[in-house]
């Protein structure tokens, strides 16, 4: 490829990016503008509804506290996701390998998603204390399901003829998994992971809300109780931003790992 073509390729990618990013950015900007105008014109009490500009100022002023609490929440989220992936992969492999396991476990997995975590979370604090463990449990409860289900479908979607091919080549069960089923299920795993990360941080924040020493969840609760609505909003926006970032990281990892699509 010539340099010129490469350059125009990069330009095309940039244009494609803009095409994707500009519309939501425009909508968001107008929403914030409306919000700002409303607060300005109505003279509403900033404790009830602070203007975006005020949220930004307050957030910047408290950036140290926001950052140190973010680190705690990020750590909980990542550890929880790691546990989820481990658990999800293990469950999916068992379910794929043994038909009875599928029948025995699948209904329970679906059932686990109907458990109201709102009710469970305070109990988890009671059992595991104020440290990392209950947060990891909540994040895992939120996120292992989409990962497991996606990977199970991925493993099941293996071309039946490709399995026959592997048999004619003399492949053993583990070779089938390693050389065929797992690589072909990777795109599915990433789809599940992308869904999971959108829940993950919310899970961590919620777990902190139920009892914690540090973290964005407990920070939001404290700020609410001291009528710092602006900082509540600042933390909420930060959580959204961090979640988006996490999502982008997973998408990037997918592009690096699943190169053949």
């Amino acid at each position: 490829m010539s340099l010129a073509a490469r350059g125009s390729g990069a330009l095309a990618r940039l244009a494609a990016w803009a095409w994707l990013a500009l519309p939501p950015a425009a909508v968001l900007a107008s929403l914030f503008a409306l919000w700002e105008a409303y607060v300005e014109l109505s003279g509403i009490d900033p404790v009830t509804l602070p203007a975006p500009s005020r949220i930004l100022d307050a957030g910047w002023a408290s950036r140290d506290a926001l950052w140190s609490n973010s680190l705690v929440t990020i750590k909980e989220t990542l550890v929880g996701l790691a546990v989820s992936v481990g658990l999800g992969v293990a469950l999916a492999l068992v379910i794929d390998a043994f038909a009875p396991a599928r029948r025995a476990l699948y209904p329970l997995l679906v059932g686990s998603q109907t458990v109201p975590i709102v009710v469970i979370a305070p109990l988890l604090v009671l059992w595991f204390g104020f440290e990392l463990t209950p947060k990891v449990v909540v994040v895992t409860l939120y996120t292992f399901f989409p990962i497991t289900v996606a990977l199970v479908s991925g493993l099941a979607a293996t071309d039946a003829e490709a399995l026959v091919l592997m048999r004619t080549l003399g492949a053993r069960r583990l070779q089938m998994l390693r050389l065929l089923q797992i690589p072909q299920a990777l795109p599915y795993l990433f789809t599940g992971l992308r869904i999971a990360v959108t829940y993950a941080m919310v899970g961590a924040v919620f777990a902190e809300w139920s009892g914690a020493r540090e973290g964005l969840g407990i920070y939001v609760l404290l700020m609410k109780n001291s009528f710092r609505t602006d900082l509540v909003f600042a933390a909420v926006f930060l959580i959204a931003l961090l979640s988006l970032l996490l999502f982008a990281l997973v998408a990037l990892a997918q592009r690096l790992v699943v190169r053949w699509r």
Partner: protein, 262 residues
Amino acid sequence: MAEPLLLVAGVSKTFGGRRPVEALRDVSLHVDAGDFVSIVGPSGCGKSTLFNLIAGIQPATAGELVLQGRANPDERRPRCGYMFQKDLLFPWRNVLDNAALGLEVAGVCSRVEARGRAQALLPRFGLAGFESHHPAELSGGMRQRVALLRTLLLGRPLLLLDEPFASLDALTRRELQAWLRATWRLPVRQAGSGSEAALLVTHDVREAVYLSDRVYVMSPRPGQMVAEVAVQRAADGSLDALTLARCEEEVLAALHLEAALP
């Protein structure tokens, strides 16, 4: 006369279930070492089923299958190099790794060695310079050649070719047929243990005659052998146009005759 490489005697296959389907009825055939044999039949006549029986992937309902003196399916399977209609290349592996897959699975040599053996044969398969391309970047004909290389590299005694060219366009197909005719025994002979015979399933009559020493004709379901046509080739394996046409007609006649029956 010496024992044939492959002997299929009185083989039937009925698929169970609530409504049993009789796929094959009393099928017999033989393939000698050095033979290229084809089976022609209409779609759904159980040709692929027959291959699955030979390769020991499914059990026969009745009859006998013996390959190199082995009747046990688990002993027949590693003696068959099975090539499917679909290329079944793994999209996450490049050309070289796809071609080496069989050797890698069999564990006959290290991964490096397997790739080396595949690499050495790429030029003969028209794939030189494409070793690190991925299947999505290849044409249908090239993909099929990689699949054939993957099969041939194993050097198994009997090649089972299940409509390997069916999904290709007419031109690519002709080109690959000519090439297969020239290539099928060559590559692995070099490596020591070559394939000794090939069995091709197709519904293309000309392809069958053009490639084969003998052609079996099968009826629609339940599949039965209705004719066997010997293709008289010159000593160098070439085929004159007249013989080609005559054999083609013979095969067609057998197919038509069967189609006219109730």
